[in-house]
Subunit: 433 residues, 2 copies
C-alpha cells in the first residue's frame, strides 16, 4: 500500500493510498460519513459508505472524535466540488490510533478569543489558517536564504548572548551569565559589519530580542530578522537589492503557496503587483505629503503608525522613505555629506498598515565621526572598542539592512496581529507554551 | 571597468578588472611588488611593476600596509604557479582607500595564541583559515536547509525565551523577563513535537544555549542546532534520514567548498568515503567492543570522550550507537517495548575524535508513561501541561533528532576546537566581541 501525502494527492488519482493523520471534522448523513482528515500537508474529505466498509471501520469512523489520530486507506477521486483540495478519498479502511475523549479537545470549530488560542498555541497551530500562515512563513524563510545564497552572500550567524548594548540598554533583556551579566542581542548588525570586512557580502538570519513594553499588533519581544551587510556599496545599491529581495520573496510565495494565500482570502492581484522598483520618497517630501493628508507630523518627528498606514494607502506598494533626520536615528548611521542633518538610510514601509518592514542604510566608516556619535548618544565607548577597530583597520564604504520576518509574513498572510506569524510568539505577558 | 570577485576571477582571464578589497600581505623585489589582495571571496597575488604604473600607484603600493583597504585595477592572467587561486593580477592602478598605520594591525603573519585571537575575533575572521571555515559553515547551513526543504519538511522556528526547563534547570541561563523569570532554550524539540502534530514533518534551525561549565574543545555555551521532527516514523526510518542527511551535507561541502577543504589540508578521500549507510552498533555491543579496546566503561555508563574517539577510530565513519540505557537518557525517550531498560534512540559519533554530533530517537507517545517519566525525573509536571496535551489529543508515533552545526563544521574543517567553527563563539569566559 502506498502511503501518500494530501499535498500531492493528485499524483495518486484513481489509486488506493493510505493517509496517516488526524480527524479534523466529521458529518454523518445516514449510511454516509464525511470525515475531514488532515495530515499536516493538507486537508481532504474522506467518505465512508457503510455498505462498502467492514464493521470495524464503520465503528472506528463513528468513534473518531476531533483530533483523534487515524490511518485511512481508500481510493483517491478527483472531484472539483470536494472542499479543501479538489480530491476526495473513498474510504476502504479506517484505523483509530488514539481516540480523543468526546468533548475534551479544547479548540472546537466555533470562534475562540485570542487569549484562549494563544494559551493553546500548540493546538491552535493545527487549524487551517495557522497551518497556512506557517507554510507561508516557511516559504519566506527559504526564499530569503535562497535569494542571498544565489548572490554569493555568506551566511554568518551573529551571537545572541552579547556584552554590547548596541542601541542603549533600555530595551535589553538581561541574562545571568555565570557570575556576570550579559544581554540578549537586539541586532546582529555590528557583528555583520565585522564579518563583511572579512568575507565580503554576508547575512545573518536569526532571532533578536526587544524588551519593549509595546502592545501593538506589530510587536513581539522575540522575532526573526535577516540582516545582510555589503561592502563597497552606496545607498542606491543598497535600496536596489532590498527591493529585488522583497519582490523575489513575494513572487516565490505567490508561486509556491498560492493555495495557502487563497485559503487566507488574500487578494492575489495586489500581491502580483509587488515588483521592483519600489517608489522612493525623501523624508522631507513624506512629511509634506502626510501633512496634506491630515497628519500632524512635523519635520523631526518619527513616522507614527497612522503615518505609515497613510503612506501605504497612497502608494499601494512598499515605499522607501529615505534620509530621515540624523537626530532620530541610530548612532552608526552615516550622515549625508551634502546635508548632515539627515542620514543616508531608508525605511521600507509595507502597504495595508503593516508598517516598517526594513530599516537600513550606510554605516559611518570614519573613525573620528563614529567616536563622536557614540559620545553624543552617551553610549559607553569601551563597549565599542572592537566595533571601532573596523574603522581603524581597512575601513570601506559599507551598508546593509534588517528585515523583520514576522512582519513580512503578517503582511503576506494578511494576519491581524504579528503574533500569528510566529510559531510560538513571545509578548510582554506570554512566554508559554 | 568590470568590478570582479576573486572567487570567479577565472571568468575574466585576459581582461582588465577592478578588485575592491584589502591588502593581506606584501613583498618587494626591486622594481616589483607582490601584493596579496583579499576581497572576502578569496586571495590573489597582484604584481606591481614600477615601469608599468604611474607614480601615484607605485607610491600607494609602497604605502599600503596589512589590512589597508585598496581598490586595484589590472589584467587577469592565468598562472598555475600563482599562490591561492592560480591567477594573478598585473596591476595597472592601485588606490589606497584607508591606510592602516604601520605596525598597528594586531594580527601579524606570525603565530598568535588562542586567547589573543579570540579577543580579536572580529579581525581573526579575516585570515585564510577562518575564512575557509566560515565558508564551510555557510555550506553546511545551506545544505542542511536544502536537504529538508526538498523533502517537504516545514521550517518552524522554536522560541528561545521559554518558561520550560526541558531537561532540568542546572544548565539553563536565566533571564529577567519584565517582572518575571524565564530561561534560554536548550532545545527546540518539545516545540517541534507540537509543530509536527500540526504540520507533519518539520524542523527548526536556530541557536540553543547550555550553561555548562565544560571547558572541552567540543563545548560552547551558545551553538546552532538543527532539530527535525517526524510523525508516523520508527527508529529505523529516523536513522535512515539521519545518515542520508549527514552524507548529503558532506558531499555538498566536498562539491562546493573543495578549495577551502584543500586549504585547510583536509584529507578529501576520507570525506569522500562518508556515504550512507553508516554502521550501527547496539550500546551493549559498544560496551563490549570498547572494553576489548582497553576502555574501563561498564554497562550503564555514558560514553566518555575517549570512548567516542575509540569508536571513531574503529569504524572510520560516523557510527550510530543505539539503545542506550534508559536510566542515562532524557525523560521523553521511548523505552524499547521489548526491553524497557534501553531506549529506542541513538547517538551518531563522528570520526577523528569529534564526538557525538547527533542525538535522537523515538519520543514517548503514551500519556501515562510520559507522566511517570516526568515524575521519576523530578521535573515539575505543571511546566509540561502543554507537552502532555500532545499525548492526549491525537498522539502518534513520532521521533526526531538534533545535530549540532558547529561540531559538524569542526569535523569537516578539521578545526582544533569547536570555537573556530562559530563566527563569534561564546564560552564560559568569553562573550566579547
Amino acid at each position: 500500500m502506498t502511503t501518500a501525502q494530501i499535498e500531492s494527492i493528485g499524483q495518486h488519482n484513481g489509486q488506493t493510498v493510505t493517509l496517516q493523520g488526524w480527524l479534523y471534522n466529521k458529518r454523518k448523513a445516514g449510511q454516509l460519513m464525511f470525515l475531514i482528515v488532515r495530515d499536516g500537508t493538507g486537508f481532504i474529505q474522506s467518505v465512508v459508505f457503510k455498505k462498502e466498509v467492514d464493521e470495524a471501520t464503520w465503528e472506528a469512523a463513528k468513534e473518531a472524535t476531533q483530533e483523534s489520530s487515524v490511518i485511512v486507506t481508500g481510493v483517491v477521486r478527483k472531484d472539483d466540488r470536494a472542499p479543501y483540495c479538489g480530491y476526495e478519498l473513498g474510504v476502504q479502511k479506517l484505523e483509530l490510533l488514539q481516540k480523543v475523549p468526546p468533548e475534551s479537545y479544547p479548540i472546537s470549530h466555533k470562534e475562540h478569543g485570542p487569549d484562549f488560542l494563544l494559551e493553546n498555541r500548540h493546538l491552535w497551530l493545527r487549524t487551517p489558517s495557522q497551518m497556512a500562515t506557517m507554510r507561508i512563513r516557511h516559504e519566506v524563510m527559504a526564499a530569503s536564504r535562497d535569494f542571498f545564497n544565489q548572490r554569493g552572500f555568506i551566511n554568518v550567524d551573529a551571537p545572541i548572548i552579547t556584552a554590547n548594548a548596541a542601541e542603549g540598554t533600555t530595551t535589553l533583556f538581561e541574562i545571568d551569565y555565570f557570575d556576570d551579566k550579559a544581554y540578549l542581542s537586539q541586532t546582529g548588525q555590528l557583528y555583520m559589519e565585522a564579518a563583511a570586512l572579512a568575507l565580503g557580502n554576508v547575512y545573518c538570519l536569526g532571532p533578536v530580542f526587544r524588551a519593549e513594553k509595546s502592545k501593538t499588533r506589530k510587536h513581539l519581544t522575540e522575532f526573526w530578522m535577516i540582516e545582510p551587510e555589503m561592502t563597497y556599496i552606496d545607498l542606491d545599491d543598497n535600496l536596489k537589492i532590498q527591493e529585488e529581495y522583497v519582490a523575489y520573496v513575494v513572487q516565490r510565495v505567490l508561486q509556491n503557496r498560492a493555495s495557502e494565500l487563497k485559503f487566507l482570502e488574500r487578494d492575489l492581484s495586489k500581491l502580483e503587483s509587488i515588483t521592483a522598483p519600489f517608489p522612493r520618497i525623501a523624508y522631507d517630501e513624506a512629511v509634506t505629503l502626510l501633512q496634506s493628508m491630515g497628519s500632524e507630523i512635523q519635520w523631526g518627528d518619527d513616522l507614527g503608525a497612522p503615518d505609515e498606514t497613510l503612506l501605504g494607502e497612497h502608494f499601494q506598494k512598499p515605499v522607501f522613505v529615505h534620509r530621515f533626520p540624523t537626530a532620530i536615528k541610530a548612532f552608526y548611521m552615516k550622515p549625508d555629506p551634502e546635508r548632515p542633518e539627515v542620514v543616508l538610510g531608508a525605511d521600507l514601509i509595507a502597504p495595508d498598515g503593516y508598517g516598517e518592514i526594513i530599516g537600513g542604510g550606510q554605516r559611518i566608516d570614519d573613525y573620528d565621526l563614529l567616536v563622536q556619535r557614540i559620545e553624543e548618544h552617551k553610549l559607553p565607548l569601551e563597549a565599542f572598542d572592537w566595533y571601532l577597530d573596523l574603522r581603524k583597520y581597512g575601513s570601506v564604504p559599507h551598508g546593509g539592512f534588517g528585515l523583520g520576518i514576522e512582519r513580512l509574513v503578517a503582511w503576506l498572510a494578511g494576519a491581524p496581529h504579528v503574533r500569528e506569524s510566529s510559531p510560538f510568539p513571545r509578548t510582554i505577558y506570554r512566554i508559554k507554551p
